[in-house]
């Protein structure tokens, strides 16, 4: 667990001097970031500032040009197949639209990683799938449904259930509350906070939602000018960088932070 007493913290994701880009365009320019065990880190930034690119680079879907990314002490991006597999079973990822396999039922979706990485009996896999479905707050009959029969919010919950299938230590969430109505978004925030606490997860969350930032996150990383600034909300509110100032002190920022107090 992260502590705020200045003691040495366990670093789970360590990014140093990261440079990424597409063609002539540089997205991240020598960016550094640490994510500590047991914390919830929110990543924010303007549209097109490279939040999703950063997430994809950390999980190895995008090759960095320079710099190093270590997750659980092992370098990703350059890691080889078998070493990458060893990392992949320790993290879970919730993609923006859930990214459920459309030809399989929700239960089968959750069982994909179980089937791949364990020797569980089908009976236990069915039980585990039902348990995860309950854990993310979906009704039990969701198990037999196809992804096309689910609403957007249910797809995200089902995607979360799949991300949690292997009981990961680290959870990546890509805009978990986008496209949800405020009530569902609140419930999703609560769900994440609850799961984070009971399962002792480390959460790396890309989000635009100021309410979820203030409700769930311990620390915030702001992606601005191709670099990252981190801090708690209170610290970042004092920051005078124009974009950050505008973000936290604009009308939406005020409303979200006022709610919190």
């Amino acid at each position: 667990m992260a502590d705020n007493n200045g003691n040495k913290k366990d670093v789970i994701i360590k990014i140093r001097g990261l440079v990424t880009g597409f063609g002539p365009k540089i997205v991240h320019d020598h960016l550094d970031l640490d994510v500590y065990r047991g914390e919830v880190l929110g990543l924010v930034g303007g549209s097109g500032s490279g939040k999703s690119v950063l997430l994809r680079t950390i999980i190895g879907l995008n090759k960095p040009r320079e710099g190093s990314i270590e997750v659980f002490g092992a370098r990703t991006g350059y890691a080889e197949g078998s070493r990458m597999r060893a990392l992949e079973v320790r993290w879970g990822i919730l993609f923006q639209e859930g990214a459920l396999f459309s030809s399989q039922t929700v239960a089968e979706n959750i069982q994909v990683p179980l089937r791949e990485y364990t020797t569980m009996s089908q009976e236990l896999m069915d039980e585990i799938a039902a348990m995860k479905i309950a854990l993310v707050g979906l009704p039990p009959d969701t198990a037999g449904k196809m992804p096309s029969e689910l609403s957007g919010g249910m797809k995200k919950r089902a995607g979360l259930a799949r991300a949690l299938a292997l009981d990961p230590e680290l959870l990546f969430l890509d805009e978990p509350t986008s496209g949800l109505d405020p009530i569902s978004a609140n419930q999703f925030d609560e769900l994440i906070a609850e799961l984070q606490q009971s399962l002792g997860l480390t959460v790396f969350m890309v989000t635009h939602d100021l309410d979820s930032l203030s409700a769930v996150t311990d620390r915030i990383a702001v992606l601005v000018d191709k670099k990252i600034k981190t801090g708690t909300i209170a610290e970042l509110r004092k920051d005078q960088t124009p974009w950050i100032h505008e973000y936290f002190s604009g009308p939406r920022g005020h409303a979200a932070l006022a709610n919190r107090n």
Binding site: S102, S103, T118, T119, M120, S121, E123, L124, E127, I128, A130, M131, K132, A134, L135, G137, P139, P140, D141, A143, G144, M146, P147, S148, L164, L166, D167, E194, Q197, S198, L199, G200
Partner: protein
């Protein structure tokens, strides 16, 4: 009282001793397969009241916690009372959370069918869906016919000329290399077979008659149609299907664009123009293939081949082949577009319906070809 020591993998264990269930080690997903097997076989002995003491557990995740809860439920189900379930303090929240969320009685029981009933059910379902498919296709044919009629009545209003020309290019001109090569090869094969078989009767000069008639009346149009069904019919389905997945079709409909006008008619008319032209081209390539074979195998020069062919064939043979082409084109385009509109909003559906579109259009082309043969023989053509 018996003590059951369970050896469950290297790092997680449990045992039952004097009415106390003790567990320890790492109860995580990594150990769960073995734990599950052993827990199912667990016999808690004759004790009526059992205490579950899992405070020796070093690591617990949701899978392990679920196994603990399941074990407790299993014991309760056999009439025993479970007095407490002790876990280390830091995992109490996880256990409580799972317990609240997951109530096994909520889970729906799936109805199971006997294999025979299931087979009957599958047959019935397939029959009904085939009937429905045919009925919908008929309705669709009607709609396209009506819209085509309207378009012919008022061409300036509806005809999307650029889209149509584009379709002629995509389905016709881009298919020239593949259709040409395959027809040439088929010509070579037919000539070769003709020569070897007819040589036995000393009638190898009849090869050219046979080649000409088979190519012009049947092979040219049939090969071209099958290639185009695989090439363009599938493309129609995949394209329209992907547009459906992306909600582009919905967007078009809400803007008041008629999908028959914008998507279907350009494809149908484009293919009805392109396929006869391709067929003519395939006929020529097939005859060239045959000529090359005759030259090398029989030593017949190209001018002599042409003379022989001219005597054996009339324009009628060519027309019999060509008249079928627009009909086949219409069927291929109709099926391709129709199946595209049947796509549901998921990725698997596009693949499924593309396959179905090709199978159906090839099937219909061959059935229609047989029907044409019957019709021509009745008419004495």
């Amino acid at each position: 009282m018996t003590s059951i020591e369970n050896a469950v993998g290297p790092s997680a264990w449990f045992k039952v001793e004097r009415g106390v269930f003790k567990a320890g080690g790492r109860w995580t997903i990594a150990e769960s397969a073995g734990l599950d097997r052993d827990l199912r076989a667990l016999d808690p002995g004759p004790a009526k009241a059992i205490t579950m003491d899992a405070s020796g557990i070093e690591r617990l995740d949701s899978t392990g916690a679920w196994l603990l809860l399941r074990t407790r439920r299993a014991m309760e189900a056999t009439g025993r009372t479970v007095e407490a379930l002790k876990v280390p303090e830091r995992y109490a929240a996880l256990l409580k959370n799972l317990e609240q969320d997951d109530k096994p009685e909520d889970r729906p029981r799936l109805p199971r069918m006997s294999p025979w009933r299931y087979r009957l059910y599958r047959i019935g379902k397939a029959t009904v869906s085939a009937g429905q498919q045919g009925w919908r296709m008929l309705g669709y044919l009607g709609r396209v016919t009506v819209e085509t009629g309207e378009m012919i009545m008022a061409p300036r209003k509806n005809l999307r000329f650029a889209a149509m020309v584009n379709q002629v290019e995509e389905t016709g001109i881009s298919a020239l290399p593949i259709v040409g090569l395959l027809s040439f090869l088929i010509g070579v094969v037919i000539a070769y077979q003709g020569i070897t078989q007819l040589q036995k009767f000393g009638a190898q000069m009849l090869t050219m008659d046979g080649l000409g008639i088979i190519t012009l009346r049947e092979m040219g149009v049939l090969m071209t149609s099958i290639i185009i069904a695989g090439r363009s019919g599938s493309a129609f389905t995949a394209h329209i299907g992907t547009m459906r997945v992306n909600q582009e079709i919905d967007a078009m409909q809400t803007m008041g664009l008629n999908t028959v006008d914008t998507l279907i008619l350009p494809r149908i008319i484009g293919l009805v123009i392109a396929l006869p032209l391709l067929t003519l081209y395939a006929d020529i390539m097939g005859l060239i293939g045959g000529a090359v074979m005759c030259y090398f195998d029989l030593g017949i020069s190209i001018p002599a081949f042409m003379r022989e062919l001219q005597q054996a064939l009339s324009v009628k043979a060519l027309m019999v082949g060509l008249v079928k082409a627009p009909v086949f084109a219409f069927v291929i385009a109709l099926v391709g577009c129709y199946e595209g509109f049947q796509v549901e909003r998921n990725a698997a559906s596009v693949g499924l319906l593309t396959t179905r579109s090709v199978v159906e259009s090839v099937f219909l082309v061959i059935v229609l070809d047989a029907a044409f043969s019957v019709m021509f023989s009745v008419l004495g053509v």
